[in-house]
């Protein structure tokens, strides 16, 4: 039963009014070092360089439960929440906060049986629905590996789901492409218009 509050930090007696703050398990840096240090000429930033709330982006680190032990978890919200302005949920049919967030430990996620999935194991949460993708990720063919293909020769890092996908809107975002090649400068008959360089759709003859 998902709504059931999972046992919090073990051993602590539950306060009658407010539950105690759970222990926060975060992955250390917001932008983990990726790949090898001597590759400064290569841009290996994960596609999604920011994650979390606006306040977190501004450097505010705090325990989610500081607020959420006062605010009871609800399944339905009828308006964008003032506290989470940046969240626009576009995750298909998956439209309830508590589908993923743990009802009584908002620093973590919820497993099938209501138990806690710590934030650093977020992949397990995504795997609940995205089985085939998870299988590929585990095999190293979904998402990006960096560093060494031969792990005997050196370390390898693997990006986790939310380093590329925004969990609230997981469709991979569009991006500005890097500059294109040019019509070879020494070639004859350089197109005079910028449109003239692109092929005509049918590849037909243009008289």
């Amino acid at each position: 039963m998902v709504l059931c509050a999972a046992p919090l930090a073990a051993g602590e007696p539950a306060s009658p009014k407010l539950p105690p703050l759970p222990v926060v398990e975060r992955p250390a840096p917001a932008k983990p070092a990726v790949g090898l240090s001597d590759d400064r000429h290569l841009d290996k930033d994960p596609p999604r360089t920011t994650k979390g709330l606006d306040l977190v982006k501004l450097g505010w680190t705090y325990n989610c439960m500081e607020c959420h032990r006062l605010l009871e978890a609800k399944w339905h919200y009828d308006r964008p929440m003032a506290e989470h302005q940046d969240i626009r949920l576009a995750h298909g049919e998956n439209r309830f906060c508590l589908n993923c967030h743990h009802p009584t430990n908002r620093n973590a996620f919820v497993d099938y049986d209501g138990s806690v999935i710590p934030e650093k194991e977020v992949v397990r949460l995504c795997a609940k629905c995205h089985g085939p993708t998870y299988r590929d990720w585990k095999a190293g063919v979904h998402g990006r590996l960096n560093g060494h293909w031969d792990t005997a020769a050196g370390p390898r890092t693997q990006l986790r789901c939310i380093q590329c996908h925004d969990p609230h809107a997981p469709k991979f975002p569009t991006m500005k492409p890097l500059p294109p090649p040019t019509y070879p400068p020494r070639a004859a008959h350089a197109p005079t218009t910028s449109a003239g360089i692109h092929p005509t759709p049918q590849g037909g003859t243009a008289h």
Partner: protein
């Protein structure tokens, strides 16, 4: 041996003896060749960026001229076969001029390949003891062998016959007849191998086509005789060596047949590409009608086709029984085939690129000057060879002036 050294000495002296017209002509050609050399020196310093070639169109005017000229060199065989196989006496009087032309033209071919190299100073990488010759894998290494072999064969045949004639002694058949017959097969092979350079590339659909080799031969056997007919008339006019009409009309007949076959094969190709067009017809579409708004080759190919048809039209009518019209036909055929094999065959092989990119090509001024220089050098070589060979043929340069002239071989 002493005779031979004297022979060489007299030939060398003769090379510098002539009237003012001879000097003017040779000076002009030398000057043009030097202009080409100058352009080539600039290319050596700045790299092939002095040409219009790109990563997409990686061969251009140099290889186009090379391909065309291999055909012209091979066409010498069109004099040799009537002379030696069908024993046409009249052809024996002129066959040497075809063989000499083959020598000059093969040298031009080798020069055109050399100027196309990014590192000509590494040419020795092809020569087995110093280098690594990729034979039999690479068709280009086959081409190097057959071209140099053809050059040596013709140099031997011409040198031997001219020397014997100079001595006034009849040539020993064993010393040249076998070479003549080898050279006949060899001539076919040089142009076939050159065609295989292109045909062997499965990634270039426009070239990967068995009709290329026969078309090469057909167009070569039209262009080569065309040049020979024109040359014979120049020889007839400016020297006292008389060439009768018979060889010229024999060549006209050969040319007419070759040109008919050439145009027929062109038609076969056009039918295949346009009646049932596939993804592989893009190059032909670019060539004849343009692709994605790129129309660089349209004027070239339609000019070539017009020239081909004018030439063929003249050849099959009685009009070309008159020398003046025959000359027109020769000039149009020669020019038409030159365009068709250069801009019409080499360049479309690269357009569109294997990834569908349409990048056009035109030779630059520097590239054109290098080409011009090589053509001038070829003309210079051929003029010099004729200047030396004709007195020997006429009998006015002879080991013993009193001796009777030897019979023509």
């Amino acid at each position: 041996m002493r005779d031979y050294i004297t022979f060489l000495w007299r030939v060398a002296r003769l090379s510098f003896q002539g009237g003012w017209k001879f000097y003017a002509w040779m000076t002009l050609l030398t000057a043009l060749a030097l202009v080409g050399l100058n352009a080539y020196a600039r290319q050596l310093v700045d790299g092939l960026s002095t040409t219009g070639m790109t990563n997409q169109v990686s061969w251009g005017a140099y290889i186009a001229n090379f391909t065309f000229l291999v055909g012209v060199a091979a066409a010498a065989v069109m004099l040799v076969i009537p002379a030696y196989v069908y024993k046409k006496q009249s052809m024996h009087e002129v066959v040497i001029f075809g063989e000499l032309m083959a020598i000059a033209v093969i040298i031009m071919c080798l020069l055109f390949v050399t100027v196309d190299l990014g590192h000509p100073e590494r040419f020795h990488h092809m020569i087995p003891p110093f280098g690594m010759f990729n034979w039999p894998g690479s068709i280009l290494s086959w081409d190097v062998i057959v071209l140099n072999g053809y050059l040596l064969l013709n140099m031997h045949i011409c040198g031997y016959l001219l020397y014997k004639r100079y001595l006034g002694a009849p040539p020993t058949r064993a010393f040249y007849i076998p070479f003549v017959f080898v050279a006949i097969a060899w001539a076919i092979s040089i142009h076939t191998v050159t065609a295989f350079l292109y045909v062997g590339l499965a990634g270039r659909a426009y070239w990967h086509n068995p009709i290329v080799a026969p078309r090469f031969l057909a167009s070569a056997f039209a262009a080569g005789p065309a040049l020979l007919i024109l040359t014979f008339q120049i020889i007839r006019r400016v020297t006292r060596y008389w060439i009768g009409d018979e060889p010229i009309f024999m060549l006209r007949m050969i040319m007419t047949v070759a040109m008919l076959i050439n145009v027929f094969l062109l038609g076969c190709e056009v039918f295949t590409e346009f009646y049932a067009p596939t993804a592989h017809s893009a190059a032909a579409r670019y060539l004849y009608f343009g692709l994605h708004g790129h129309e660089g080759l349209i004027p070239w190919i339609w000019t070539a086709i017009a020239l081909d048809f004018v030439g063929l039209g003249l050849l099959i009518t009685p009009l070309t029984r008159r020398i003046a019209w025959l000359n027109v036909a020769c000039a149009t055929c020669f020019l038409g085939i030159w365009i068709e094999k250069g801009m019409g065959l080499i360049i479309p092989g690269f357009v569109p690129s294997p990834l569908g990119q349409v990048v056009e090509y035109l030779p630059t001024l520097n590239e054109t000057l290098v080409c011009l220089g090589i053509w001038a050098l070829g003309a210079l070589l051929y003029s010099w060879m004729l200047h030396v060979a004709i007195p020997i043929m006429r009998g006015s340069l002879r080991a013993r002036p009193g001796a009777p002239a030897a019979q023509p071989h």
